[in-house]
Symmetry: C2
Subunit: 453 residues, 2 copies
């Protein structure tokens, strides 16, 4: 019953692929295997003209025709209709994409580092020639989030995005949560299993998530958000006991990218930040396990939306890249200029100090009468109001505390777990500093923000 397919009936578009790593080799494979099907959907025949790589003899994840490989990216780019950049890094990726745009090609990229640092330059170059930059794969892997933010929610006002956008850190935190394992142990395991790089800094210190946060915030708030405006904290200081305490209070710890519309001094602004935060176990984001990603979006009219799926992986990310290739091909066939970026709102990004949030603070204190009063008075002087206090007595044999409502007996140390009410971040962090300097506080064990309430 199916019609005979023939890509011959379509206009042929030359597709150049730059890079043949985990994602690139899958993109090439799918382009070659599903050519007829993709042609029917795009209304154009997608001819893989070549694959530019540094080393044509390197081993690839998928076997591909040797004659497609070249080290001469520039010759491949010139004369192509669609250029897919999956090399990563800033240069030569950026130069190649600018060359592609100036040669009249539409470009598809998954390069979050490049977009977060030089996106404006690329978008402007595309604008000048009426081409488009597609980058669905640059944030949250296979999860369609770019089009929903750019198009579906273009008539709405996004209030807040909370995203689990880094699979490695979610994998690590999830295993720490389910197994009680410690960070170093799970990281080593993740490296063995290929979930984390040999140098895990980009993931565990939140750099990767910060790049994605800048991309998502730019789209959501129609504003260019520079990467250095993103506040960033990683997960290396998260301990099993922090996860244990979080659980006891009904929370799970997730590395979140938070993009928020806030009003500061009466004017509309945005805050973009990445940090490990406490999320209620009843929040939809709490049930995002393993290396999965999810983006939770709150908009004025649409209400709460969530987008969930694989955040990484070669073939998964290749799906997002190929969706962009089909879109680019359709635009080539349809004619007209590409739709440019929408950054006219141009809202200022404010420093973290202006953000309204609430803290969960764990202190190690002298176990003697009057300590709680002293701590409470420091909090009150800092303008921070207390919502909950739990006191536990440290058991030195296990290093973990047991909950206690008995009066302190002056014989050692105790833990105070203080949940504050919402306050400005600056007041909260100043108060934590004051607590750290206080005579009765032996140690500030941990400070975590609560999100998603």
């Amino acid at each position: 019953m199916t019609q005979p397919r023939s890509s011959d009936q379509y206009r042929r578009l030359r597709v150049a692929l730059l890079g043949a790593g985990a994602v690139g080799s899958q993109v090439a494979d799918l382009l070659l295997r599903h050519g007829d099907e993709l042609a029917d959907r795009a209304g154009a025949s997608l001819e893989l003209a070549g694959i530019a790589v540094r080393d044509v003899d390197a081993k690839r994840d998928v076997e591909l025709p040797a004659e497609l490989f070249t080290t001469d990216a520039e010759s491949l780019i010139v004369g192509s209709d669609i250029v897919i950049e999956l090399m990563g890094g800033i240069e030569p990726a950026k130069g190649n994409l600018l060359l592609a745009l100036n040669s009249g090609a539409d470009v598809v990229t998954a390069n979050k580092a490049l977009l977060a640092t030089h996106g404006t330059e690329l978008f402007e170059a595309a604008d000048q020639v009426g081409a488009s930059v597609y980058y669905e794969a640059a944030a949250a892997g296979a999860i369609p989030i770019i089009r929903p933010l750019r198009d579906s929610l273009a008539g709405d006002r996004v209030v807040r995005i909370m995203g689990i956008v880094n699979g490695t850190t979610n994998y690590i935190l999830d295993r720490m949560d389910t197994e009680g394992a410690d960070f170093a142990e799970v990281l080593a395991d993740a490296q063995r299993l290929g979930y984390a790089e040999a140098d895990p800094t980009a993931d565990v210190e939140g750099y990767d998530a910060a790049q994605k946060a800048a991309i998502l915030a730019s789209l959501a708030f129609h504003t260019t958000v520079p990467l250095d405006a993103v506040h960033r904290e990683g997960i290396t200081s998260i301990t099993p006991s922090m996860i244990e305490e979080a659980r006891a209070a009904g929370f799970v710890i997730k590395l979140l990218a938070v993009c928020e519309r806030i009003t500061v001094d009466g004017s509309e602004s945005i805050s973009v930040r990445v940090y490990p935060a406490l999320v209620s176990r009843t929040h939809p984001l709490a049930s995002v396990h393993g290396a999965n990603n999810a983006v939770f979006v709150e908009a004025e009219a649409a209400g709460s939306l969530m987008f969930y799926g694989a955040g990484a992986g070669g073939v998964q990310t290749a799906s997002a890249v190929l969706g962009d290739v089909v879109s680019a091909a359709r635009r080539h066939i349809a004619g007209g200029v590409g739709v440019g970026e929408s950054t006219r709102a141009n809202l200022p990004t404010v420093p973290i100090g202006h953000v309204i949030t609430r803290y969960q603070i764990t202190l190690e204190v002298d176990d003697q009468p009057g300590v709680l009063a002293a701590v409470a008075s420091t909090l009150s002087e800092g303008g921070v109001s207390v919502a909950t206090v739990v006191q536990t007595v440290d058991d030195p044999s296990t290093g973990s505390g047991t909950e206690s409502s008995a009066p302190a007996d002056g014989s050692g140390t105790a833990r105070l777990i203080i949940g504050t009410h919402r306050a400005a971040e600056q007041a909260l962090s100043d108060t934590v500093e004051a607590l750290a300097a206080s005579d009765v506080v032996e140690r500030v064990v941990s400070v975590l923000r609560v999100e998603g309430e």
Copy 2:
């Protein structure tokens, strides 16, 4: 720091709105209140030229300028650049949209009934003039699902969609599940609260979900799926004891729209069906509560994705409509022809009998020796293999059974809950008929399919 905004700097586009019900009045309100912001995003000034309604004096959800209202839809349509149809029903909606397309306008509609029955006609009319039909609001309300399927996944192969796409039935089933209430009781409550219509047939009999299933399947499989190819069953026969039994087996009952790529006699086909099904409580769809919607998509490369949010509601749906209006405006500014529908795969839709699924069958049987053997032999003759059997003895005082592993004593009736292995639907339903006709079976209490395993 924000730039001064001025919609005067943009080309003006005339927007006509047809219908001012729950969604339409919110769309008009947002267009009027956020005009400058929308202009910045669209690159065009969106001028609400008028609102066509049957009765200009009817009470609206939102107060709107009286001078915008007209009963003359045709005059409003001619000369408009974008026409938003939110009247519902087939005529005059269809005639109005065809007039709009033939007058050179792009059209935005949330009319699932019209799209599911006359979509092809609209898309062809749009194709002929190079215009576009936008309909993000027609399936799953505010949840962006149309663009992800049409664009983001255009380079992938969707294997299966399982959607909770009707908020009313999810609200009813969720309350039955959490409160143990019966269908009629919760339906009456839902009607009082405005979650269900006075005539609830379209929702509870699955007609609304079937329309959305046809739309989603058409997009996902690049195939025109006619509404009458969708197998449809409603939820009116779901009882509290079925929900109770489902819970005991680790399931929750959800009304699902299932769109599936299947191979029949060696050739690729699709199945589209709507019915109440058992879903494991660990499946992401199980935690979709209240009137929310969610669409779970499995694709060959992307893996599992889920899209979650509000499936209905005036202002929520208005968000999706306005996203489409901004997209239409951008296309007007960019030039070129609209991107047509992709239906070249043209896969046949097969009847439900070909589907491979598995059943959970509850039987009322004579409580005497040999019954299980007789039932097992009927199943085996039908080619249906048994995965689990639970026998309970009916307690006539409560009407519910208690689990029993004791041998039947011949003194009354017992229940057999049989979970089958996967088999062709035809074999399963034939076997249920044979069971119903069997001497030892007093009554087939319920038959439910299991999905999402």
